[in-house]
Amino acid sequence: MISSWWYARRYLSKRQRLVVAFLLIVVAVSVFVAFNFAYYYEVSYRNARTRELYSRLIKVFFEEYIVESNLTAVGELDGVKKYYPMIANTYMAHHEDKSGYVPVEFCDRELVVELLKQLSFSLDPKGVIYAGYLVALKLDLREGEKLSFGPFSGVVGCVLPYTGSLLDTVLFVDLSVYIDYAGSEANVSYNGLYIFLISRDYEDSVVNALYERYRVRYISSPSRVAEWVEKSNRLQLLSSMFFSFLALLMGLGIIILMVYREYEGRKRELSILSALGAKTNTIISALLIPLYIALFSGLLVGSILTFFLVIPYYHLFVYGYYRLFGINTYVATFFSVGLTLLVMLLATVLVIKRKVKGLRPMEFLRAEL
């Protein structure tokens, strides 16, 4: 093995161009592999988090605005632990030179705390305006900065952490902002509800009761969300899986082709090594070490490029803002890229082992060649 390293080091120093070319190809392949795997894991993560959020939660949108007194009956339904009325609307929001349509939910501050708790976040948000993570990214918002949306305006008290769920896309606003705008004497009415269940077993009965008592426009319940999340993301998941697999095959194809070409181009040299008494494993290692170095560095560089450059710029191009994926996505992606690397290594070892074993040194050592 020492002799293989010794030999490979010298080969690398003399064949830098080839190694750099190989490195660039591997970087390109690994960017493609890492990008697709990252998307696959990000979508899977979001699905899981949204399902987790709705594990015992029902969100209702009514056809009409309902005064609070007419909603108290919800609290008396079997299986309802807590409920929070809210006013949901979509407004054009403006912050400095950024603007965009944002779903806004006027609700009790405690609701935000409870929703975050569902996702294992223990947070005590300050102020009266709480921006979901992606809303903040979209509008380039930071805590303490002024934001206007529709007829409202105020200072962002808290940018919520990245939850991976639908909470990231909502701008939560304390009801006091709405009441201040409407006037304290106004009879506030609501077009939506968040209902926390004691357990998921009560989902059907509560949903049926809601349909019976109110004119419901839409209900998101644990089973419906699970179904919806699956449905809406299936295409993304399928395409990510397909492209990841394609990237794997492509990468594998390119690597094997390069290894094969490298072998074909170095047959004479390998024959000399064999004549000088190098064992099969030494010859294989001497051949593969430079490729492995390029492969390892290429995949590492490719993954880092994807995580910190390609994905952020892709978001900038498509959604108008930079963003990094969550650490969980990156860790899973890195392992998948590592696994891809392992598959590639095994494939190259198999190909080369077969080739080297079939090598007939005398064919290449004869003078007439």
């Binding site: 020492i2 002799s3 010794w6 030999y7 010298r10 080969y11 003399k14 064949r15 004479r268 040299e269 000399i272 090594l273 064999s274 004549a275 000088l276 008494g277 190098a278 064992k279 099969t280 030494t282 074993k357 007939r360 040194p361 005398m362 050592l365 004869r366 003078a367 060649l369």
Partner: protein, 224 residues
């Protein structure tokens, strides 16, 4: 022939067939320790194949090859590699130096393969290059060397692990007369140091250097 005592290599009815052609036809011969054996024959007569078989780089279709009494046909691939590395030094007509290694590194290579430490291998390589008059070319790559210099490096490489047996395949075919003499003198010197040399060539006049000569025609040893 006083130095000759027992045989180092024995070929017993060795036959090698490529396609429908018998390259070697029932070759039997003994090579003795400390002798300079030259096998003369025209090109295509099977000379290189004979060396390949002795080195274990090719296997005979029939017959056996013994090295110091051990049948090399019974060795596995790695044992054969070790056999070549420890006991055989190969010199080729077209030098077969590794292009991306310097002259010194080419000489170091068999020693590194044998597991010798880099420093020791370097020291020995420089000694050998000095011995063959190419120490000043130690850091040159093969394409920066003349044919004669490349062959001297090749001889130094063949001697790197101090092997008992040197196999030389037309070592002077690409050299001018002056370099040819130098190489033949080097080989004669290695024989006088106790090594055995088997040299195959088509040049009859080189037989003057031999302690024994075999003639190979159409795969058969026809005269001694």
């Amino acid at each position: 022939m006083s130095a000759i005592n027992d045989n180092i290599v024995r070929l017993n009815n060795v036959t090698k067939i490529y396609g429908f052609r018998k390259i070697l036809d029932s070759i039997s011969m003994d090579v003795y320790r400390g002798e300079f054996l030259i096998v003369v024959g025209p090109s295509g007569s099977g000379k290189t194949t004979l060396l390949g078989i002795i080195a274990g780089l090719e296997s005979p279709d029939e017959g056996e090859v013994y090295f110091e009494g051990r049948c090399i046909g019974g060795m596995n691939v790695d044992e054969l590699a070790e056999y070549r590395n420890k006991h055989i030094g190969f010199i080729f007509q077209n030098y077969n130096l590794i292009p991306h290694l310097t002259a010194m590194e080419n000489v170091m290579l068999p020693m590194i393969i044998a597991g010798l430490k880099e420093n020791k291998a370097k020291r020995r390589a420089l000694t050998l290059l000095k011995q063959f008059g190419v120490k000043d070319k130690a850091m040159s790559y093969p394409n920066e060397l003349s044919g004669g210099e490349q062959q001297r490096v090749s001889v130094a490489r063949a001697l790197a692990n101090d092997p008992m047996l040197i196999l030389a395949d037309e070592p002077t075919a690409n050299l001018d007369r002056e370099n040819e003499e130098i190489i033949m003198e080097f080989l004669s010197r290695t024989v006088s140091e106790g090594r055995t040399v088997i040299l195959v060539t088509h040049k009859e006049y080189l037989c003057d250097y031999a302690s024994r000569v075999y003639r190979l025609v159409d795969g058969r040893l026809v005269g001694v």
